[in-house]
């Protein structure tokens, strides 16, 4: 059954990321604010899931499914490549530092 909860979460997270990308990512190569927002939001929520000590169905649906589907590494890698040797590392570095900070914040808020 776990796999179905994961799939259901992924079916919600992935289109939300796509929608954020369509609304906030630039038409031409530039800062991918939609993808950055999706990756940051997913890291915050996953940190909170771990802080709440979620397990079983709830972790499968929200953590593995929704957060995993909302966030993406494949888009981050291709966008970083296409932004070139100067803006690419800045975008990727910002994403990783923001993700780590958001995840820690989520964990601390949830763990109380």
């Amino acid at each position: 059954m776990t796999i179905l909860w994961v799939a259901l979460g992924g079916a919600a997270g992935a289109p939300l990321r796509y929608l954020l990308g369509q609304r906030l990512d630039p038409r031409r190569p530039g800062w991918h604010l939609g993808t950055l927002a999706a990756n940051t939001g997913a890291s915050l929520l996953l940190g909170a899931c771990v802080g709440w000590s979620l397990g079983g169905t709830a972790l499968a649906l929200v953590g593995t499914g929704f957060c995993g589907g909302l966030s993406t590494y494949s888009s981050l890698a291709v966008q970083t490549r296409d932004l070139g040797p100067r803006r690419g590392p800045a975008y990727a570095g910002l994403t990783i530092v923001t993700g780590l900070a958001a995840c820690s914040l989520g964990f601390l808020l949830a763990a109380g």
Binding site: V6, Y18, G47, T72, S74, A92, G99, C103
Partner: protein
């Protein structure tokens, strides 16, 4: 481009399958407490495959299939939130060198994979990079 009302269900279906595959990979080989090799391999493979997407005639012909396979399947298969949580947990576990190594190695390997595969494949339109 088909309207969003057609693309979103395609992305959702792909995201469901990709997330389930990622879960399955974790069931076959769990990450354990050291370097999270399974998540690392998932992200590198997913990045290489996204860069290769337009080698597939189906993805070149149909925007809905490209959305289902790119942002959907591969976006759902790869995960950024798990790498953030793994980095946070390693730092909390007082293993800053391993945390930094993992985060930098994942980014480096994923971008190098995208660059290498990108030499062979047509460039993606912006909307499939999301």
């Amino acid at each position: 481009m088909p309207p969003l009302s057609r693309l979103l269900p395609a992305v959702a279906a792909g995201g469901a399958v990709g997330s389930a595959l990622r879960w399955g990979a974790g069931e076959l080989a769990a990450d354990g407490s050291g370097f999270p090799w399974t998540t690392f391999a998932i992200n590198v493979a997913g990045s290489a495959l996204l860069a290769a997407l337009l080698l597939l005639p189906l993805a070149r012909r149909s925007a809905a299939w490209a959305a289902a396979l790119g942002p959907g399947l591969l976006g759902g298969f790869t995960t950024f939130s798990a790498t953030s949580e793994q980095g946070r947990a390693l730092l909390a576990d007082d293993r800053p060198v391993l945390a930094l190594t993992y985060l930098v190695a994942t980014l480096g390997a994923c971008v190098v994979a995208a660059i290498a595969v990108g030499q062979l494949a047509p460039a993606l339109p912006e909307e499939d990079e999301r």
